[in-house]
């Protein structure tokens, strides 16, 4: 196995050093106090838009804002997703956050709010934030207070191959779970792989359980389970049983337990190359399908996750998440102005057109042209309930355990009861 001893030991030390590093990093927290003698305010804006075209579009928007507000300078700090997360962990520990920072809402934002580091925006944004799409604001609404303003929103649903559905004689997408299982059976009968799944990455598997839990036990039960650290609700066990019914049909592609999401042999490619009929994925699915595989073009369709007969949840409740911005406690008024500017119709139109996000300002809908994106948008607009991605809504350990246990259920090594037991155990330990 080679002489990896040294570098491995280095790795071990590094892991330990990460602990120290975090403490050390906290010393270099941002010096984000704007304001200088000539009356200009400098605002630091931390985001994760490191890829084009978003990067330059956002930079252009910052320039535009500066032109409108001559006394304000915006300093953009861009970090790649994972780097951003670890840097923010360090900054949260140090007790000082940037003026404007990217947030996904949910558990992490709650932690920052609990630490007293985030500005309550409820009153300061009320007049204009009211008009924003209601689901989009959900992730940043904690204890009925607004802590962030969205610029992107999305949701998970089924993407399907219309040609393969036709081949199997399915005319309309299913709206109930039993209808969905029938669809899977019909596809199997025609030797079509019904579903592509990235089992190696676990989070795509979690979507099934999460949606089923929303449909059977309901959104409130999922939130209550997290608060009480008790996931033994019979509805949550039932969700696992429904998932097990699906797994019994062997609906997934060959080798799905080892499949990644976006690699050339992964879930998106399987779907994009027409080798599976469906995938349960977010609004970004068409882009990744075309990137990792060939893409389905007009053969691609979207339908919401089916309802479960007798369950507490409705088909109009959505599971998703997005991106938003929050402000540090005591951020200057200019930062609030910027949030307002960024959530204006003109800005949102530009974002929707140029960076491919879904509109958070209802009027910006006009910029949408793709029928699938429109279908997703319609679903979001008509949503009667919202559940944030579980790995963002819950503490990291609990979120990971959900992913882990659900994958074990699909692999056949855990029963529906064991799934809820494992999650409960982790929630109590964390």
């Amino acid at each position: 196995m080679g002489d990896r001893a040294l570098s491995r030991r280095g790795f071990l030390a590094a892991s330990a050093a990460a602990g120290l590093g975090m403490t050390a990093l906290s010393a270099c927290g941002g010096d984000s106090d704007g304001g200088s003698s000539d009356g200009t305010t400098t605002i630091e804006w931390w985001n994760i838009s490191t890829t084009q075209p978003t990067k330059s579009v956002w930079a252009g928007l910052a320039k535009k804002f500066e032109a409108q507000h001559p006394k304000v300078k915006i300093k953009i700090v861009q970090l790649e997703n994972d780097a951003y997360k670890s840097k923010m962990t360090a900054l949260t520990a140090s007790g000082k956050l940037p003026d404007i920072f990217h947030t996904w809402g949910g558990g992490v934002l709650q932690q920052q709010v609990d630490a007293g580091l985030v500005e309550d925006l409820t009153d300061r944004t009320e007049p204009w934030a009211d008009g924003l799409l209601s689901v989009a604001k959900q992730p940043y609404l904690l204890d009925k207070k607004t802590y962030g303003i969205p610029f992107d929103i999305g949701m998970i649903g089924f993407w399907y191959n219309k040609a393969l559905f036709k081949q199997a004689g399915i005319t309309t997408p299913p709206t109930t779970w039993s209808g969905f299982l029938d669809t899977v059976r019909k596809l199997k009968a025609k030797n079509i792989t019904p579903i592509a799944l990235a089992g190696k990455e676990k989070w795509p598997a979690m979507y099934y359980w999460a949606y089923l839990a929303m449909r059977t036990a309901g959104i409130d039960a999922l939130q209550k389970a997290d608060e009480n650290k008790d996931f033994s609700d019979p509805g949550l066990v039932q969700a696992g049983q429904h998932l097990k019914d699906l797994v019994k049909l062997q609906p997934f592609q060959k080798g799905f337990l080892g499949a990644s999401y976006s690699t050339p042999t992964g879930q998106a490619a399987t779907m994009g190359n027409g080798k599976a009929a469906m995938e349960l994925m977010g609004q970004w699915a068409p882009v990744v399908e075309a990137d990792a595989g060939k893409g389905l073009g007009s053969n691609l369709g979207f339908f919401p996750f089916p309802a479960v007969d007798g369950g507490k949840g409705a088909i109009t409740e959505v599971f998703g998440g997005g991106g938003g911005h929050a402000l540090r406690k005591g951020a200057p008024q200019a930062a609030v102005d910027f949030l307002k500017f960024f959530a204006s119709e003109a800005t949102d139109l530009e974002l929707v057109k140029k960076t491919g996000v879904l509109p958070v300002v209802p009027a910006a809908e006009s910029a949408l042209s793709d029928p699938n994106t429109k279908a997703v948008q319609a679903q979001l607009k008509g949503a009667t309930g919202f559940q944030l991605y579980l790995d963002q809504a819950y503490a990291p350990a609990v979120g990971q355990e959900v992913n882990d246990s659900v994958t074990a259920l699909i692999a056949g090594s855990k029963s529906p009861e064991q799934v809820t037991q494992s999650i409960t155990k982790t929630a109590k330990e964390a």
Partner: protein, 332 residues
Amino acid sequence: MTSTFLPDKRTGPDVARTSPAAKPARGRARRRLLNWLTAVGFQVPALVLFIGLVILPMLFALYAAFFRWGGFGMPSDYTGTDNFTRLFQDDVFLGDLWRCGVLIVLSLALQLPFALAMAVALNQRLRGRAVYRMLFFAPYVLSEAITGVLFSMIFAPDDGLADHVLGSIGLGGIGGEWFADPSYVMATLFLVMTWKYFGFHMMLYLAGLQSVPAELTEAALIDGAGPWQRFRNVTLPLLAPTLRISVFLSVIGSIQLFDLVWVITQGGPDHHSETMAVTMFQYGFKRYQVGYASAISVVMFGICLVFALAYQRFVLRRDLEGATTTMRGDGK
């Protein structure tokens, strides 16, 4: 160094004669101080780095292992040995230990003998043996991440190179889900590990074989020893020091295996290829249960340390003698 401590026979009488004996004595003391200062001066930078970047973090990890700690601020929620009791009740971690054992046994029983056989074969006079040596060593030079990506493509079910090749020679039935099958993932992984690392051990053995004197084999030949006897009774004993080092590196490598597994399977499917280092990473950097992850790293470190010390004490002692500086009294 010895001369500093021995009485200097030439200056000895002079010291007695020149009345204040202090002068040369002071000179010697000054030289000793200077020597000492030089030594310290050279050591301090390295020592500071080593203590700051290796020793302190290690001690800190040991400290953190006794806390329930999420990585924010300093650990404060002291839980005693809870992390360790939890660790040894965790099916995944117990599985890690089992898989680690399996890998060690497989490496020692299959990979190293294979490397030895290749080394012996390539030690013969052979057309283009330099090319073979280079070819077999090449995988070792590749980074683990690249190897991982490469083999996840090769062993992709149905579409991968492995299945195509097997299919085209009529052995399609052997192909399967490879890394995606819980029962075969370790076997496939071991195959990749062997591909990657046997060349390194082969090189070690080749170097060892070069130092086996030809006269000895020749003498055995004259005495009528067959090829197997020559190998068993002449080559192998002389190769023993190399073998012992190679076994040591192989075992330590198995205990700490991380990057290949992380890139190829992330420990899956369903933990069937997870190693201790992967579990530690999951808890430390995905779940932010840094205290628990520290406990895993402490156990890993403990296993490595015990093994390394025991191995050096009982197996490598003879090889190391003379190779390292000893503090024996006679100084000869």
